[in-house]
């Protein structure tokens, strides 16, 4: 499958945008989910969505003001009948440009990464 890339130009320095990545309250607001993220490699990543769905995983790479990568998978329900989705890897890159910051988000199924690695 192709890599799916989403981009947005934001008026503001990467330093301003970075806070929205690593502060759980700010992250929750733009993500549309109750978010928890420990900003360090191996740190816990957890998003609880309004419909009861949860996505959990861990930080893989983190370069302040530049890049945040985590691996997560979907968890629906608990105990008998619960389901766990396939893992995927999310990378958020911030690039300083004349207008401010170019934010690029890529999400790829982890299986694809393993196959091409």
């Amino acid at each position: 499958m192709r890599n799916e890339v989403h981009e947005e130009t934001i008026q503001g320095a990467p330093e301003d945008v970075w806070g929205f990545m690593v502060d759980p309250a700010a992250l929750s607001a733009w993500f549309g989910a109750d978010a928890w993220l420990e900003p360090e490699p191996g740190g816990v990543v957890r998003f609880r969505f309004a419909d009861g769905l949860e996505r959990r995983g861990a930080v893989e790479r983190l370069t302040p003001f530049r890049e945040l990568t985590w691996r997560w998978r979907e968890h629906r329900g608990a105990g008998f009948g619960s389901t766990i989705g396939d893992a995927s890897v999310v990378t958020i890159e911030l690039r300083r440009i004349a207008e401010g910051t170019l934010v690029r988000i890529t999400e790829r199924p982890a299986a694809t990464l393993a196959a091409t690695a």
Partner: protein
């Protein structure tokens, strides 16, 4: 994939009747308009219109003469990929739009 094709896929998958048609095609295999209309809560004309949108998005193809034409899902891997993209894609674009608004709002309120 072109942005325009992607929009067509998002739009096609956004409607519950079209998702239901895709599910019906994926379980029953190639089907005619008459077969697809049976068991759908909408009119035959509505099903025909939804099929046209699914065809435009490249998710479904119609084969044969108009009378007795059979519709089928385009090869599964492509449909799967599109489904996956549509699921996360719409979400990420919404999130990026919110992030932009919030960063720029905070910046304005500070200056």
């Amino acid at each position: 994939m072109m942005a325009r094709d992607q929009d067509a896929v998002f739009q096609a998958l956004a409607d519950p009747t079209r998702r239901r048609l895709l599910r019906a095609l994926s379980t029953a295999g190639p089907s005619t308009l008459t077969e697809l209309s049976t068991g759908m809560p909408v009119t035959r004309q509505a099903v025909s219109k939804h099929l046209a949108m699914l065809q435009e998005a490249g998710l479904v193809v119609g084969r044969g003469e108009v009378r007795g034409r059979r519709y089928e899902i385009t090869p599964a891997p492509l449909a799967d990929a599109m489904g996956w993209i549509a699921d996360v894609g719409a979400g990420w674009d919404d999130r990026l739009a919110r992030l932009k608004r919030q960063v720029e709002q905070r910046r304005r309120s500070r200056s």
